[in-house]
């Protein structure tokens, strides 16, 4: 984008450069008509949230497109049933639009439930269903009565707001399931994992951490989700919510109805995942659990730090642009990139709210461009202006980056390796490194005259042993101390460990290995 491109007038206040003026960013606005927005619709929001409930039937009531475009496009993995990956549609035709689609929908549900005997069924209302006024509630009531399988309408008419409103509709649908099981609650501390979608098996990693801490996981909503677990989710003592946009609604409903508190977490990046585990441990006020958590964090960080340090050496000084769906993930990414020595120069989201952007702004360095609901032209322009080496986004952003000759990392539906948790951080570092430091960019027009990139890590699997590695750190220190502004207290609030014990323990360990 060599020539200057105007930002749409109506969008000017949705773009802010940190440090240029007092912070104010417009957000939560409808996209400007005509803008090449990267946003999606209500149906999309509901579908992505509920999709990973694997033993439920998901019927899309509408014309074929809505089902076709959401057929198995997210790698939300299942440890059992794969029913969620099938694509069922009522394939509404013109005459259904005229005469109504209720009968067709009911017939489809009866047939599908008969054949697959799912644990529950979700029926998604699309734009057209909202418009022609099919009474999905009534259809679902009849089907539930006839089949004995709970059939739940999802009010996800595409036009009725944005993707965020789809999250709300999904939470409302889930709310109907929660609390419908009378099985006895488990002994000991228990949680629900909310807002992780098991992309590339991430839920399994997270679940394992909690179990090692001694916490029972009653349900995972919705990654690798099971209807029966969701029914008894009200028995948990705590809801742990990732992906603020999608699942906070359900956590709030459960707070009101069952008085279950919730904490907000993120599993991306060393700092955030450690904080998540500590936050959960703190809620249970159990010194033994806290100790196990400290040990877990210490073990995991020590295991990954040598590898991360090598990536950091190679990536130090690179610049990244981050454009995510929700804003919460952007925070984690800014911090994770900092852990890798990469500076975030552009940060934005499709659906952030004022508090989100306030926090994002405070995390970023001066000069960082903040964007709400941006479009390809703006993204390209700012990537060019800031000289970003990397774009992190989703499917629609990938080819834009590549055309520019800029590295890319998918941190959205299409990620193939888990990026959550500690091992996820290594995968993330590897993804960023393998793209940013690929020799391919030295051939691209954009970079042809730039000095060659430093390729210090060979291809192939990394050896975890750190013998012979150049350790930059002069003295043993908390692995992230260099990357996080220190609060300066002797409790060493580095965000990763937050506990003195962890840091001193880790330091001792590093001294031994070094």
């Amino acid at each position: 984008m060599r020539e200057a491109i105007d930002i749409l007038d109506a969008r000017r206040r949705q773009v802010h450069t940190k440090g240029s003026q007092p912070f104010q960013l417009d957000c939560e606005k409808h996209s400007v008509a005509g803008s090449v927005s990267q946003r999606a619709c209500v149906f999309c929001g509901s579908r992505v949230v509920l999709y990973p409930i694997t033993d439920a039937l998901h019927l899309v009531h509408g014309p074929i497109g809505c089902a076709a475009y959401t057929w198995d496009i997210r790698g939300a993995q299942s440890s059992g049933s794969q029913l969620h990956r099938m694509s069922f549609s009522t394939d509404l035709r013109e005459k259904d639009v005229i005469y109504g689609g209720e009968k067709k929908c009911e017939a489809a549900l009866i047939e599908l439930i008969g054949r697959y005997r799912p644990k529950a069924a979700f029926v998604y209302a699309t734009c057209i269903v909202g418009l022609i006024g099919d009474d999905l509630e009534a259809v679902c009531r009849r089907v539930t009565a006839q089949t004995g399988v709970e059939t739940i309408p999802v009010h996800s008419e595409g036009f009725a707001g944005s993707k965020k409103d789809g999250y709300t509709a999904a939470c409302a649908a889930l709310d109907r399931l929660v609390g419908t099981s009378e099985s006895p609650p488990p002994d000991g501390p228990s949680i629900n994992i909310l807002g992780d979608f098991n992309i590339a098996g991430e839920t399994w990693i997270i679940r394992d951490y909690y179990e090692r801490m001694g916490v029972n996981v009653i349900s995972t909503i919705t990654g690798d989700g099971r209807v029966d677990d969701i029914r008894r989710a009200h028995q948990a003592q705590l809801n742990v919510v990732q992906c603020s946009g999608s699942m906070k609604g359900l956590a709030r409903l459960m707070k009101q109805k069952y008085d279950i508190p919730f904490v907000h977490v993120s599993y991306f990046g060393l700092e955030d995942v450690s904080k998540a585990l500590y936050d959960v441990a703190e809620q249970f006020n159990d010194p033994a659990m806290m100790q196990r958590t400290t040990q877990l964090v210490r073990d995991e960080i020590s295991a990954v730090m040598p590898q991360l340090r090598r990536y950091r050496d190679a990536l130090q000084g690179k610049k990244a642009a981050v454009y995510t769906g929700g804003a919460f993930k952007a925070f984690s990414l800014v911090r994770s990139l900092r852990t890798l020595g990469v500076q975030t120069v552009i940060a934005g989201s499709q659906t952030g709210n004022p508090q989100d952007y306030q926090q994002l702004e405070s995390l970023c360095d001066d000069g960082t461009v903040l964007l709400d609901d941006t479009n390809p032209l703006e993204l390209a322009k700012f990537i060019d202006q800031t000289g970003a080496d990397l774009l992190i986004g989703g499917v629609k952003e990938r080819p834009i980056a590549y055309k520019l000759g800029v590295a890319f990392c998918d941190h959205n539906h299409e990620r193939k390796r888990c990026l959550a948790g500690y091992e996820g951080m290594v995968n993330f570092a590897n993804e960023v490194y393998s793209s940013v430091c690929s020799p391919v960019w030295s051939l691209s027009p954009r970079k042809r005259h730039a000095p060659p990139v430093k390729r210090s890590i060979g291809p192939g699997p990394l050896v975890t042993a750190d013998a012979g590695l150049p350790l930059n750190t002069k003295a043993p220190q908390c692995p992230t101390a260099a990357t996080v502004p220190s609060a300066g207290s002797d409790s060493h609030a580095c965000g990763v460990c937050q506990l003195k014990a962890h840091c001193s323990g880790l330091a001792a360990q590093e001294t031994e290995t070094a």
């Binding site: 803008s35 927005s37 014309p63 029913l83 639009v97 017939a107 057209i128 032209l377 834009i400 055309k403």
Partner: protein
Amino acid sequence: MTLLRHTSADQDVQREALTVNPAKTCQPIGAMYAALGLHRCLPHSHGSQGCCAYHRSTLSRHYKEPAMAGTSSFTEGSSVFGGQANLLAAIENIFTVYNPDVIAVHTTCLSETIGDDVPQIVEAAIDKGLLPEGKMVIHANTPSYVGSHTTGFATMTKAMVDYIAQSSGAEKIRDQVNLIPGWVEPADMSELKRLVKLMGLDPVTFPDTSGVLDSPQTGIHEMFPAGGATVDSIRSAGDSCHTIALGPICSGPAAKALFAKCQIPQTTMPLPIGLKATDRFIMKLREINGGFVPDEIMTERGRVLDLMTDMHQYFYGKTAALWGDPDQLVSLAELLITLDMIPKFVVTGTPGKKFYKRMGEVLGDHAQGCKVDQGSCADMFQLHQWIKSDPDKVDLLIGNTYGKYIARDEDIPLIRHGFPILDRIGHQHFATVGYRGATRILEQILDAFLDRQDRDAPESGFELVM
């Protein structure tokens, strides 16, 4: 129940009101793809944001390219009061910021059902002075509950004729032919243009996504890459001497419209996939150019034939299952028959009247042994049922990416062809039309068979030369 095993062999599922794992998608994406084949055109989706996002994502996944398009960003208010205000704002914003030459508006099921009258809204935009000098807005009605993605493509292609093509009143240009290539890859469009030029004719090709969805890396974000049919060239389509429309579903309506509007004689023929269909295409061009076929084309034909004879014994009696778009399926079936293969199962979700008849024509004597299905319940589930319940497993699957579940479950090789292909690259760069394209498909089919033979051969029969 797993995704891989859509069904079991003993299930005989009768369905009336349900599609399971579709073998089609909806009209607007076809309109969007066609519109991208217009130079400096921004497709515009008049409806909710989700439709536009899904279509752009799917096109991006298939072509590995940015697919630009605007959206009217409907809200609940627009759905109640109509989308006029949104479209007017969109037209103004798009010309102000993105500055395309053309905006190609297509409707979605939402805007179609609330009854937005796009031409009337465009008139209003002109009255308000929102259209800069020399710019234009064209439109296509593409409700998702009618037809399929292929008919959406056809409708937008026809809109190019309706809005742009004009007869200047002068004599028809003797060497100029209109080439309506149908829904094929950018590389196919390039190849078709090359053949027409080799035949000494000047092709007016529309839509033409070559140079748009196979564009080079330049280091610059090109909102409008260099390729695509220009408005001027399509305008002059009204003065061409003939129109060749490839694929009756995707290209037929535009050719007919051009005949009605500018009296250009037209020939609608199957997509030139395979030797026989390409022969017909070349023969048609030969009629137009006065009876001349250059040596270069004859050599290309000879090469394909040579390959077919070199390896014909490997093709004999092999069976295949096909799915995808009707225009593609008819030509693919014919290609297989010329190779002595047997198309056993053919499935398309796209509804339409003449498909069975066309398939019957190309299948000829093979029609008895071939199951063909079309419409709502003709989907990947249906296809999988057929394959499962057939005692002799088919030897080959040809179709889009969605066949990979069946391929894995049944352990049958899959050749990716059609739309969408989400999990491989190259399809946008290698033509499958024309003689060169036939070479490509032959290679793919033969490789599949020989790889399978190598894999399954006992050690004693594992041979260097095949």
